[in-house]
């Protein structure tokens, strides 16, 4: 469903994403991990059509995001890491607006909107301006906006930030159900426990290159790590194992 072919993004001399090849098939929940500044967000934003690649291409369901953006984006729901939304719209108005961007309107949208607001327990706030929403409530509205038009693919950057435990559990179940019904999720996260528990396959990116990918078992086998957790594997692969002398920092 999601295909990356030699995807590259350069900023001047700095290479943020370096010729990545990746395939995420339909019905898979794929985890995209990496340390800060590794190129995760850049990659996701290129897939979502917000940024243009310097080289390479991205296809969603066979449609090229640059050459045929309208068809590709019809399939997509994107959830960014920084939830900037129109502060002066109400939650319901925002969802109606997003549905409109995908050419949807009328009773179907109203029903869908009520379902989603109900799922996130936002019904009480639906007619209040978003400017008074908390960070978590904004995140819930954005997740709802990515689902309002019933996408085939969800690309999501750090979905758990700001969510309370109940909402986080709802989201995990939602993604699993979505994938079980044939949807595709590409998720970037720093919460490795979540990634380990949820994702069918995982890729670890560092300095713009994928340094490992596969199922948990495949990753363990390739790195001779026995029954290591994803956190151990991640630290081993990204060179973060050498933990600094904490005492030096704390005592001073």
């Amino acid at each position: 469903m999601i295909h990356l072919h030699g995807l590259t993004k350069r900023y001047g001399k700095f290479v943020a994403v370096d010729a990545i090849d990746l395939h995420v098939p339909r019905g898979e929940l794929f985890g995209f991990l990496g340390p800060n500044g590794a190129g995760k967000t850049t990659t996701l934003r290129i897939i979502a059509g917000i940024m243009r690649p310097s080289a390479g291409r991205v296809t969603l369901g066979g449609d090229d995001v640059v050459a045929n953006p309208m068809a590709a984006k019809q399939r997509l729901g994107f959830i960014p890491d920084r939830p900037f939304v129109y502060e002066k719209l109400t939650g319901a108005e925002f969802l109606r607006f997003v549905a409109g961007l995908y050419g949807q309107a009328g009773d179907i949208v109203e029903r869908r909107l009520d379902e989603l607001l109900d799922l996130w327990e936002l019904t009480r706030w639906k007619d209040e301006l978003i400017e008074s929403y908390s960070h978590g409530m904004r995140q819930k509205i954005i997740i709802s906006s990515a689902l309002i038009h019933r996408p085939e693919v969800i690309v999501v950057d750090e979905p758990m930030v700001g969510l309370d435990p109940k909402a986080a559990r709802t989201l995990k179940r939602l993604f699993r159900e979505f994938v079980d019904r044939g949807g595709t999720v590409l998720m970037s996260t720093h919460t490795l426990e979540v990634a380990q528990a949820m994702c069918d396959r995982i890729a670890i990116i560092q300095r713009g290159t994928i340094i490992a990918h596969g199922t948990m078992d495949e990753l363990r086998a390739r790195n001779a790590s026995g029954s290591a957790s994803l956190e151990d594997l991640f630290l081993k692969l990204t060179g973060g194992e050498a933990v600094r002398e904490l005492a030096a920092v704390l005592e001073g």
Binding site: P69, L76, L89, A105, S145
Partner: protein, 565 residues
């Protein structure tokens, strides 16, 4: 064990200084042309103000007895206007710097002494709200200095007068904001302030117009010379700092010099800072707490749907939702819609000005003069429309910035987006343009030919101005700015205004020939001949305006396609 240490004023101000330095460094390499254009425009403005004022002052110097009085009165009026502007802008700036700024959480949670915080924020408020007035005052004082041979000490006198004149309104503005925030939640205060500020600015301009400053230059309008001199000698109010400043400057220039006004200015400024600090120590903590309380705002969205859904039903869903969204955002954002008040005042003044032309004094109005005024009025109307487009259309792309992730990741066509934005801004602008032009021409009793030329040209000009505003907005986006009212004063806004003025000048030059031919023919009682040159000139205007509509929109679209977030 030593006692608790608190951050010094220098430490609090350090990040601001570092940020300014980093910006300067950034600018050094990449923004060369920008600096040149800004510098040239600034220098031109200075030269213009200096030149006009120098001529006026030279004229005053030639008038015996009342010359220095007139010069003093003029300075007093200018400084009073500055004081009012400063007061307003300080009230608004203080709200952001003292209550809404992002660094406040850090400062409030650090061991920073309240007095240091007050002084740092006061300085920040002063700098942000006064730099423009300070720059504008340079050519004014320079003209006075040069006209009256102020000598090398004059700049020193000016600075010693001007600095307290900046401090006083900053302290008062800050105190007003502090009191307001203690009564209303910060968001409500911000809304309230933007309305009050805009309404006050409008009233100020209106009041200034109603005083009819042109009468001051016509002593024959007064019953006798004595009345006139008495009026000139009366200070606006002996308690106003602007009058002290005038006394000090004029005293130095034309004598006798009295240091008392300067002492008054400095002691008042110092006393105000102390009083302001005392008020701050009592009220700031409660005010800052209140400023963080969110205002719950439920909205009756169904009214919008009931009104606009049927109105835009003929559009595709995406375009309809986009336009309705833009309208909602505009009318729900006080900083945006409140500017309509200023717009109303502007139009009123515009019409009043036309009405108060010497044409309407009961004298026989020469046909030639009416036609020339009616024609040149096109340029003025164009300029007014350009300023309005700079306020309302130019910022529209920038305001979309933070949400661009949503628009770019959705299948909304960028072409649809730019055209929706174009029409949503241009249609109201066009309505306004037609109202101004038709009313002015009716007031002037212009001929049908002049009316037709006026209406046709203003339609074409408005279409082009809307497109230029949108395109320059896309080329110089200000995605980081949260306040829409600040976007037009950016560099891009300046470039837009300059390009639009060039376009208006081009149109006037092109049309001058046929209009002159028409006026001359009617004046000489000859039949008006339609010459190829006339047709070519009007065709030239059509081509110029349509090119200035379609080319910028196409380039703007291309620019938007390259946006990366």
């Amino acid at each position: 064990m030593t006692g608790p240490t608190t951050a010094s004023l220098a430490t609090i101000l350090q990040p601001k200084w570092w940020t300014a330095r980093a910006r300067l460094r950034e600018g050094r390499g990449t923004r060369g042309p920008k600096a040149i254009i800004l510098g040239t425009v600034g220098a031109l403005f200075w030269v213009l103000v200096f030149g006009v004022l120098y001529r006026v002052l030279s004229y005053f110097r030639g008038v015996e007895e009342i010359g220095p009085l007139l010069a003093g009165k003029l300075l007093g009026l200018v400084l009073l206007a500055f004081l009012s502007i400063l007061l307003l802008s300080n009230v608004i700036t203080a709200l952001s710097s003292f209550f809404l700024a992002r660094d406040l959480d850090l400062l409030a949670s650090s061991p920073v002494d309240w007095l240091q915080l007050y002084l740092a924020k006061l300085g920040e408020t002063l700098l942000h709200s006064s730099w423009m007035v300070a720059l504008a005052s340079v050519p004014i004082f320079a003209a006075y200095g040069v006209s009256y041979h102020g000598g090398w000490f004059f700049p020193l006198v000016t600075v010693s007068v001007f600095v307290p004149l900046l401090v006083i309104p900053t302290v008062i503005g800050t105190a007003v904001t502090l009191l307001l925030v203690n009564v209303f939640p910060a968001r409500r205060t911000r809304d309230l302030l933007s309305i009050v500020a805009i309404a006050a600015a409008g009233m100020l301009v209106l009041a200034f117009r109603m005083i009819r400053p042109e009468q001051l230059a016509r002593p024959e309008g007064f019953q006798n010379l004595l009345d006139f001199i008495t009026l000139l000698q009366t200070p606006t109010s002996p308690l106003l700092p602007s009058d002290w400043a005038t006394d000090a400057v004029m005293g130095y220039l034309v004598g006798p010099f009295d240091p008392l006004p300067i002492l008054l200015l400095w002691s008042t400024a110092a006393a105000f800072v102390v009083l302001g600090a005392m008020l701050h120590s009592v009220l700031y903590a409660t005010g800052f707490t209140k400023a963080q309380e969110g205002a719950e705002r439920f909205v009756k969205g169904w009214i919008w749907r009931a009104v606009f859904d049927p109105m835009f039903r003929w559009l595709s869903v995406a375009r309809r939702e986009f336009i309705i969204k833009d309208l909602k955002l505009f009318f729900r954002d006080t900083t945006q819609w409140s500017q309509l008040i200023l717009l109303g005042v502007l139009v009123m003044i515009y019409l009043v000005n036309i009405r108060s032309l010497p044409l309407f004094r009961g004298e026989v109005v020469p046909f030639r003069l009416v036609s020339v005024v009616s024609f040149l009025n096109l340029g003025l109307a164009g300029f007014v429309l350009a300023s309005i487009a700079a306020r309302f259309i130019f910022p529209s792309i920038s305001l979309e910035g933070r949400q661009m992730w949503l628009l770019r990741s959705s299948p909304l066509n960028l072409r649809a987006l730019i055209w929706s934005k174009y029409w949503i801004g241009t249609v109201p602008l066009l309505a306004l343009a037609l109202i101004i032009t038709v009313l002015t021409n009716l007031l002037l009793k212009a001929t049908p030919f002049m009316m037709a030329v006026g209406v046709g040209t203003i339609i074409l000009l408005t279409l082009a101005i809307g497109a230029l505003a949108l395109a320059f907005g896309a080329f110089f986006p200000q995605f980081a700015t949260e306040n829409a009212a600040q976007i037009p004063t950016s560099f891009g806004g300046l470039v837009f205004m300059m390009s639009t003025i060039a376009l208006i000048a081009g149109v006037i030059v092109l049309e001058a020939t046929p209009v002159y031919a028409y006026v001359s023919a009617v004046f000489a009682d000859r039949p008006v001949e339609v010459t190829p040159r006339m047709v070519l000139s009007f065709a030239g205007v059509v081509v110029l305006c349509l090119s200035a509509t379609f080319i910028p929109l196409r380039l703007g679209l291309r620019r938007m396609e390259q946006f990366e977030f």
